[in-house]
């Protein structure tokens, strides 16, 4: 049986629709429209046209031998989602869902964002399609990703800093859901990751799986064989599902997802949901979750706003439960050191999120040895992270005006 393109709403014991009744009609409508769209050649053609002429697909792959010297000499190939328009893989999904919004006939879109990459992607497609756009972003994240806030506002979106709860991504999702409950007649929720209620996990995966489909062929063309392993960072998990899906039925290709371990999984300050969490219900789906014994969601921590989420997509929880993919923790320090290493050896500044995948790959390469080929999803570029990196590495001149 193929593991690919699971339709949802359930992925093994995970997934579902744990939502207020008020949202069910909208989820049903979205599910039905998406079903029609994904079988409609005109929809696929419109999306492909946008990929080619707007966001810049196919994204290239880049082999990184100087970086690979630090990974036990394994052959390392990056899938360059960082080169997409708006700087990350998030545009793939935003374009798909914007087309779907247009098809449904709604005129207003909302989105949640952590690092701001999905918010920027949504603000971008809203500008392109002439849609009103409101982005919910935790106040903590608006502070650490101020540049992305400016980008979204420049693109014409309204950015709402969310001041409730932990003031990060999970609370931004709560507020976006509250907005959706109140405005569902005019509004489509462009959800940014493979979490949330059905149809989001399957639909967002479908809009992202082009990453793996392109990369699988590109690696075959370059090396003549499939990679031994595919790696990606996992917050909610959309870039990881995007690159994993095409390889799910290749049993010889190992899949590794790297979660944010923050200060370390032995401390309370991390976001390693699969490593340290247990099954629970959050944001509409049953999945793995960081929670206390009462089922209260525990605040996550990561230097990377995009991975700072106490949940994870249900398909990842399922892939972990059946052993098809392996999920490992990477600390803030390990990620930052990989960020600097790729910058210095290859002239590519990765996003802090993607740097978790790079750090994991360094270790994996040493374990697999020089004969191995590893495909890494470089999900985003690091431009947005320069202030964090500047502070972390003490790169900024004292007294210089930074904002």
């Amino acid at each position: 049986m193929s593991l690919r393109t699971q339709p949802g709403p359930y992925f093994g014991d995970f997934g579902g629709r744990f939502v207020p009744e008020s949202l069910v009609a909208a989820l049903d409508e979205l599910t039905a429209e998406y079903e029609l769209a994904r079988n409609d050649p005109a929809f696929a053609a419109a999306l492909t046209k946008l990929h080619v002429n707007y966001s810049g697909r196919p994204s290239i792959i880049t082999e990184v031998p100087r970086f690979a010297e630090y990974a036990g000499g394994a052959r390392i190939i990056l899938k360059r989602e960082d080169l997409n328009h708006t700087g990350s893989h998030k545009i793939n999904n935003a374009l798909g869902q914007a087309l779907l919004t247009q098809r449904i006939g709604k005129t207003r879109v909302i989105a949640e964002t952590g690092a701001g990459q999905h918010g920027v992607a949504t603000a971008t497609v809203a500008a392109l399609f002439g849609l009103e756009c409101v982005v919910y972003m935790g106040e903590v994240d608006t502070e650490r990703q101020a540049l992305n806030v400016a980008r979204m506002r420049l693109l014409g979106a309204e950015v709402v800093p969310v001041k409730t709860g932990s003031r990060t991504l999970k609370d931004a999702i709560n507020d976006a859901m509250r907005d959706w409950v109140s405005n569902v007649e005019t509004t489509n929720y462009i959800f940014g990751t493979v979490a949330g209620p059905h149809p989001f996990p399957a639909m967002v995966r479908d809009f992202q799986k082009i990453i793996g489909e392109e990369a699988r062929k590109q690696v075959l063309d370059l090396t003549g064989s499939l990679p031994d392993a595919v790696t990606a960072c996992v917050g909610g998990g959309s870039n990881a599902m995007g690159i994993f899906d095409a390889f799910l039925d290749d049993p010889d290709v190992a899949l590794f997802g790297y979660e944010a371990a923050g200060d370390g999984v032995e401390t309370p300050r991390h976001a390693a949901t699969i490593t340290k969490g247990r099954p629970g219900v959050l944001h509409g789906a049953r999945s793995m979750l960081l929670q206390d014994e009462d089922g209260q969601t525990v605040d996550s921590h990561s230097i990377s706003a995009g991975l700072d989420y106490p949940g994870v997509g249900p398909e990842h929880a399922w892939l972990a439960s059946i052993g098809r993919a392996t999920y490992l923790p990477i600390t803030d320090d390990e990620a930052m050191s990989a960020l600097r290493l790729l910058s210095r050896t290859e002239g590519i500044i990765p996003a802090i999120e993607s740097s978790h995948a790079l750090a994991g790959t360094l270790e994996l390469g040493r374990a697999l040895g020089p004969e191995a080929t590893i495909l890494v999803n470089l999900s985003g570029r690091g431009d947005k992270d320069m202030e964090t990196a500047g502070r972390y590495f003490d790169l900024l001149d004292e007294g210089a005006e930074q904002s």
């Binding site: 629709r17 207020p20 008020s22 999970k170 219900v281 959050l282 929670q291 009462d294 089922g295 209260q296």
Partner: protein
């Protein structure tokens, strides 16, 4: 006509609502969260609701991610969590309230705390504490097999939601799955006082009636005796939450008691007794 699933003694909530209806009014259901402003005060405040004419208590369990709640209830439940609320305090509160007053106590909870506690264990402990059942804002009947089985076994009420956006088929599903009443969402939105309660509420109750609902209580946005009176003209019960929480926040237990008394006046003598 749909027959609700019943077992054991049946629903005291349903009986309370029916009694109010035949007396010429309707049921007033009052929401307060456990642990706000303190555990003891939340117990005293719930008792004060009943002393001032509230027929059914809806006791909210504070939760970290309350997506159906507006700012007033969010602030109160966040404070309760910050003060150290634990699920066991919920059962303690039910015990303390039902020891003092006869009104049935329904618990309003998001689903994950129940899952983590264990659905069967939660049902048993709720029953043992004297609770009447659960209102589950983020659990739809489609996902509720475990809860259906546990609540039937423990003879507890299940209150599911019906929304203006629900299809007729989903209304039937909500009626069939619910025991006690169907929580009729007055408006597309979250909890919180609104100046005008939507005409959508009246239409939704009519749609529920048309497919056999005998116990429909309207909630979301209701804060005044006039609104209670208007709603009970066509519905079986009116649910007030944020307004009571705000009264408790601003003026303590005396204020929440005063508001309950005023609201209860709106709930009585609407039409001749049956």
């Amino acid at each position: 006509m749909t027959t609700p699933i019943t077992s054991g003694a049946g629903s005291t909530v349903e009986q309370t609502i029916a009694r109010r209806r035949s007396a010429g009014g309707g049921a007033l259901i009052g929401y307060l969260p456990v642990g706000f402003p303190t555990l003891n005060d939340s117990i005293d405040a719930a008792v004060a609701l009943v002393a001032n004419g509230v027929d059914v208590i809806e006791l909210g369990l504070p939760y970290s991610d309350p997506v159906m709640d507006g700012p007033v209830i969010q602030a109160a439940t966040q404070q309760a969590l910050a003060n150290g609320f634990k699920l066991r305090h919920g059962f303690e509160a039910i015990r303390a309230i039902t020891a003092q007053v006869d009104a049935p106590v329904l618990v309003m909870t998001y689903w994950n705390p129940v899952v983590q506690y264990g659905v069967e264990r939660f049902a048993d402990d709720l029953r043992a504490a004297g609770g009447a059942g659960l209102i589950t804002p983020d659990l739809i009947p489609d996902e509720a097999d475990d809860w259906m089985a546990a609540s039937v076994r423990a003879d507890l009420d299940r209150v599911f939601l019906a929304a203006p956006s629900s299809s007729d088929a989903r209304l039937v599903q909500a009626i069939e799955a619910s025991r006690g009443f169907v929580y009729t969402v007055s408006t597309m939105g979250t909890t919180g006082a609104r100046a005008g309660v939507d005409a959508a509420a009246r239409i939704l109750v009519e749609r529920l009636r048309a497919v056999g609902c005998t116990s429909a209580c309207v909630g979301l946005g209701i804060s005044t005796p006039e609104q209670v009176r208007e709603i009970l003209g066509y519905a079986d019960g009116a649910i007030v939450g944020s307004a009571l929480v705000k009264a408790l926040t601003d003026g303590g237990i005396p204020a929440v008691g005063r508001l309950a008394r005023e609201l209860a006046v709106g709930a009585r003598d609407i039409r001749p007794a049956a």
